[in-house]
């Protein structure tokens, strides 16, 4: 069975620098998959290829059984930097991905209000990004991707720049949203515990040129909660196993 996203023997080079080689993976519907790897291993590049943001030389990536050649309205991308437009309000930033893309349906007022509520942004709709905290800006960025109601959410180290506490809180919110909407999520991260906490599967990548060296299924009970799941002995086992794979143990 082929998944929602099928990656087959993908390779990519920037000039003479080969960043990805022989990457293959299948990502199923409603799966939460993390891509874990050392920095510079090409994991962000892989996510960009899936999103149709960059060309590649070898292999193929298929999304819903169609070759990926350009960004799709069915995908939402959350970037490393929160990427909000400083001249737009929270509301306009949340709806940017809807307003720009003719193929995306605008959420109903009720759905939008619920999204704002879920993200804990109620009362801030008229604020501008510079008036928000770092954590709130990231929530707006996630909300912008969710407002498109995409089938797939692609996230490139969305919480990388945040402090541990804010990161935990956003992870929890992400879990809650995912458990409710069951979107397919591909999350790029270099945090082992974040990958274990959130994912159904963790794809471990090698050093450059990056390839997938291990596909680890995370069989922890759901719904998960950062404070509870971390106490689970199995959680620790997964962290140890992934650390060994990444050579950081």
């Amino acid at each position: 069975m082929s998944g929602v996203i099928s990656i087959a023997d993908v390779g990519k080079a920037f000039g003479d620098l080969r960043v990805l080689g022989n990457v293959s993976a299948d990502i199923g519907a409603a799966e939460f998959v993390s891509v874990l790897g050392p920095s510079g291993c090409g994991k962000s590049t892989l996510l960009r290829l899936i999103a149709g943001l960059a060309p590649f030389e070898e292999g193929s990536i298929r999304f819903n059984d169609a070759e990926v050649t350009a960004p799709s309205p069915e995908m939402g991308f959350v970037f490393q930097t929160s990427n909000l437009l400083p001249w737009f309000t929270v509301r306009d930033n949340l709806l940017l991905g809807v307003d720009l893309d003719a193929a995306v349906q605008r959420p109903s007022d009720a759905a939008f209000a619920e999204l704002v509520e879920t993200l804990g942004l109620t009362g801030f709709e008229g604020s501008h990004p510079h008036q928000l905290s770092g954590g709130m800006r990231h929530r707006v960025a996630i909300g912008q991707a969710l407002a498109r109601n995409p089938q797939v959410l692609l996230m490139d180290e969305p919480f990388g720049a945040l402090d541990a506490l804010t990161r935990d809180r956003l992870n929890m919110e992400l879990l809650r949203i995912w458990q409710r909407d069951r979107k397919t999520v591909v999350l790029v991260t270099h945090s082992i515990s974040e990958a274990v906490l959130l994912s159904d599967r963790v794809l471990v990548m090698s050093e450059r040129p990056g390839t997938i060296i291990e596909d680890v299924r995370i069989d922890l009970p759901r719904p998960r909660d950062p404070s509870v799941t971390r106490e689970d002995p199995a959680f620790g086992d997964y962290v140890v196993r992934l650390s060994k794979l990444m050579g950081v143990s």
Partner: protein, 251 residues
Amino acid sequence: MSAPAVTRDHAISLGFFLFLGLAWEFGVRWSGVQSYLLPPPSAILAELWQSRGPILAQSLVTLTEVFWGFIIAVALGVPIAALIFFSRTAKRTVYPLFVALQSIPKIGLAPLIVVWFGYGLTSKLIMAFLFAFFPIIISTLGGLASTPAHLEEHFRALRASPMQSFWRLRVPAALPSFLDGCKVAMPLAVIGAVVGEFVGSNDGLGNLILTASGSGHTTLTFAALIAVTMMSLILFYSVAYWERFIWWRAA
């Protein structure tokens, strides 16, 4: 800053300039410098009041020249900058042409402009335009180029059309730099108009400065200079005022 601290800062500035004025006033009186060489501020202020009618009338002439010169500089400079930015051909042709034109001393051009366009408004307007034009082009170009690459990629991920990317991303991102260019260009436009009036005119503040100093009427020269300076300041701050609407320049 607290309110008393602000008041204190204002008091310090005011005191400083009051001191300078008084030093000038009494320095002139006590040293016995002839008033046709350097009149005391009190005489200049009196002149400013007495001749307020003609000074205001001449200011209006110069203001008209500056206004239109500046407006045309923006109206032509912005689209030309956009053309240079988006067209490689324009970057290889139009851009070096304007750089070369900018390198011609515009003061040297003034006599030609007056010969071509006469003593009236047109030649002064063109002088103001010539002085203001280049900073507008350069700042608009810089602004357009300053769009962060990660936002461009973001817009591609959101499947924005080129037009959407231009209006919603490039234009707002370019505004802070464009406004900086306007702040440079506005006082330059005033200089351009006054230079034009120096070279050949029947009226305007530049003309007034020239005729007053020519007839040894130094207080009127100073009064007209003050009027030019005030006009330039007011115009500068009326451009700078718009900064509050682009608060994202720091973000």
